[in-house]
Symmetry: C3
Subunit: 344 residues, 3 copies
């Protein structure tokens, strides 16, 4: 743990201090739990009242608010907070293991400088790994995989043969990358496996969550674009192309051959059917079911997914269907009566 | 396999025998499949007629029913059945392996008496493990983890650094505990990883299902309360607090910072959005989507989730929407006609 | 990579050539990406226009179409394409490892001829494995498991004690087979684990996807029928019986004791509640929620699932609920007015 003054933190994030810049900070915490020596942040104005009550020594804000804490005013307080957390706490330090004698590394595999390999790791023939990568115990890397610099593979992650992995990629524990796509030719009632000759390509700065499963392509590659982050227990189908800088929250499912643009965000458990094209900067709500092409910038919710601005109101009316049904029946009776009178 | 008389079983569960208490029982089975020498149970009165037809030698019931089987009358027949299954069949016996020479155990790790460690297990620096734990092959335990007594870790489970695990905790195969929360600060279109400095705390008697993924907290801990049972392929987000004695059925998704009370039950594939508070003894149906705070004792269903007593009827009416639309159109025509006549 | 003439390929699949049968083919590809030396296929008439534009050297079709490519006319072009991909590219070749000295194999385990075992694999007491199986690194096989011939277990798959696995079964990475069913007897607010004494039976030609979790049965076996293919991140509950030749697409959830017939297809993220019976040749759409028994041949969609022919129209009307509500209100006003006039 580091100790920094508010001034040092403000300088680090390019912010302006309101209050005593000499206050010492040793840790980051939440608005509700931060106490003396701790810094927190306000990015959602909704929580402004909680800043007034915070016990934190310092708070990162976009504009000064009423609070007894010292304030660091920064343009993007959440981004500034990230920088502060990195400075005070750092990212996880990996145990220094060198290249473990208990790993199984093929003679033809090449490991870059500074790359460390834990016990019980398997690295196959013709694998090429860049510099400063880290392999936790139990990781499997199949033959002919290429990996860039600065990647981290957490315990028991499996990377199948031939996949391509860029720089600074992170694969969390028990994730699978490059397993066979779910592709079968059904003939006379039996499902025949189609060799999956595509690969998985994880571009630079991608992260794959724990237990997630990224299928290799049947004929062409499955691609996760630069900087995209995939949560836990996500399934991506064969040949899907996820554009750069997307966020796929845990348990999302993307079927085969989907094309997703850049900067899309998919909420938890959302699903996308196969062979559709989703534009750029699309936002899809949790549990949504997307079944048609989606234009750039759209916001969708519901299953089936509809325009997000309508969806909330529309789906919330499902609850009132029994009432609506009753009203329609009552109207039918009244109208019939009125018609009868008219007819007399 | 054990052999017990009906009398011995009745004594074991505190029940009363109706019929021949000397009948010998060697196994437990289902109502439909149980035969001679076997015991079954009736806990749902809906299946009473099947007891009449059962070929079982004995049956556990809450009140005597019409059947040729010997009956053991017990207050809670399903609980009594559990006791009988434990007595007759026992829990899984783990192969005696001692501490395998093929495990990788850090010099500073401490293992309690009777703890066994299988091959290819990694236990990191400063890990403290209590007595009588069992580590199946391929399990990973990161540095500074603390584990209580009597825990079982099944093959290839991964426990990240610093997590806290109570007594009698079970983690099934390929589960991940303590991987990084899905936390990024998005700045100028790029997602920057926020160090996740919280931990995961699994309290006593927790079970985590196969392939499940429990994220560590960003700033404070993710907690699974005492006695809570998590099914397979469940995802729990960073900083969520699951109260004691909850049941989260397979494929449930809990987003970050959710607070769940005690004795809640979530059905399969149900999802809970982030930052909401769910009371105690809440029941949430399968596939429900919970998007707002929920009071104690509520029962919810549907996506979006509504009161469970209304949900079934309301959601079942979706099927009739085309008909309702037609009726509204017909009413509009008739009313217009009536208006025209009126106007003449 | 192989080189074959169109004639050789046509002979291999029993097809008829339209065009130059001497053209050389070295690879299979998609309609859009195939180029010189490559073969593609047309199975969905919807894409016929793309065949006209294809740069492929050859194309497999059901009936001749307008195209500059050489055509192979075959009864089932997708099945023929599968045969061609196998011929040209083959299935994955596994590294020759023999039986690794770094595996942990119990003295009482028996391995058939040609079976290979990678590093860090654990095979328990009394396991019987047939001929020509392949175990990738990190696989766990518990005591008393029986495995047939020609099976493949990918990295870190876990097979619990006592399971039965047929011939030519494939288990992808990080999948769990035979972990404890989610079965607890709740008594006085605490959940007591019921020993799960059933097994998992995977019949011949089954495939289990990456990260999937197949629970063992509480009292009787969980069964995946011959030729059924299970996608990634699928959860199958204790005691479920999946019939032969089913397809369960990624993230499907099947609760305990469900009985599924043969040749059923379940779309991604579909869920089935416990203890129901689904007939043969049933098709269930993605994200559907099945809560009742389903007859043979049915097609269902929606949550709750309804007849598929109605579901699309019905669910698409949810979007118009606000409008319908408005119309009902307007009708009520008009009818009231008409009633008032009538009354005067």
């Amino acid at each position: 743990m580091q100790m920094k003054t508010v001034k040092e933190l403000a300088d680090h994030v390019g912010g302006r201090v309101v209050g005593d810049a000499a206050v010492a900070i040793t840790a980051a915490s939440t608005l509700d739990k931060a106490g003396p020596g701790q810094i927190t942040f306000l990015s959602n104005p909704k929580y402004a009242s909680r800043v007034e009550a915070t016990q934190a020594a310092a708070v990162l804000v976009a504009t000064p608010v009423k609070t007894s804490a010292v304030q660091i005013v920064a343009e993007d307080p959440y981004y500034a907070f990230m920088q502060v957390v990195v400075l005070l706490h750092g990212h996880r330090e990996h145990p220094a293991v060198g290249v473990s004698a208990k790993a199984e590394i093929a003679a033809s595999a090449r490991l870059g400088e500074g790359t460390q390999v834990g016990a019980f790791v398997s690295i196959g023939e013709n694998v090429v790994v860049g510099a400063n990568c880290y392999f936790y115990p139990g990781v499997f890397v199949g033959p002919n995989v290429e990996i860039g610099d600065g990647c981290i593979f957490y315990p028991n992650a499996a990377i199948y043969d031939g996949c391509r992995i860029g720089d600074r990629v992170i694969v969390q524990s028990n994730a699978s990358v490059g397993q066979d796509g779910f592709g079968f030719a059904t003939h006379k009632g039996e499902h025949h496996k189609i060799p999956q000759i595509g690969r998985v390509v994880l571009e630079d700065d991608v992260e794959i969550g724990a237990g997630s499963a990224i299928e290799r392509g049947t004929l062409d590659d499955t691609v996760i674009g630069k900087g995209s982050k995939i949560g836990d227990a996500v399934a991506v189908g064969h040949g899907a192309k996820i554009g750069p800088h997307c966020l796929l929250v845990p348990q999302v499912g993307i079927a085969g051959s989907v094309i997703l643009g850049h900067h899309c965000v998919l909420g938890g458990q959302a699903g996308v059917v196969g062979h559709i094209r989703i534009g750029n900067m699309v936002r899809i709500a949790a549990q949504a079911g997307v079944i048609n092409d989606v234009p750039d910038g759209a916001m969708l919710a519901g299953a089936p997914a509809v325009d997000g601005s309508k969806a909330k109101r529309a789906y919330s009316l499902i609850e009132y269907l029994p009432e609506m049904k009753k009203k329609i029946k009552a109207l039918e009776r009244k109208v019939e009566k009125l018609g009868d009178r008219d007819a007399t």
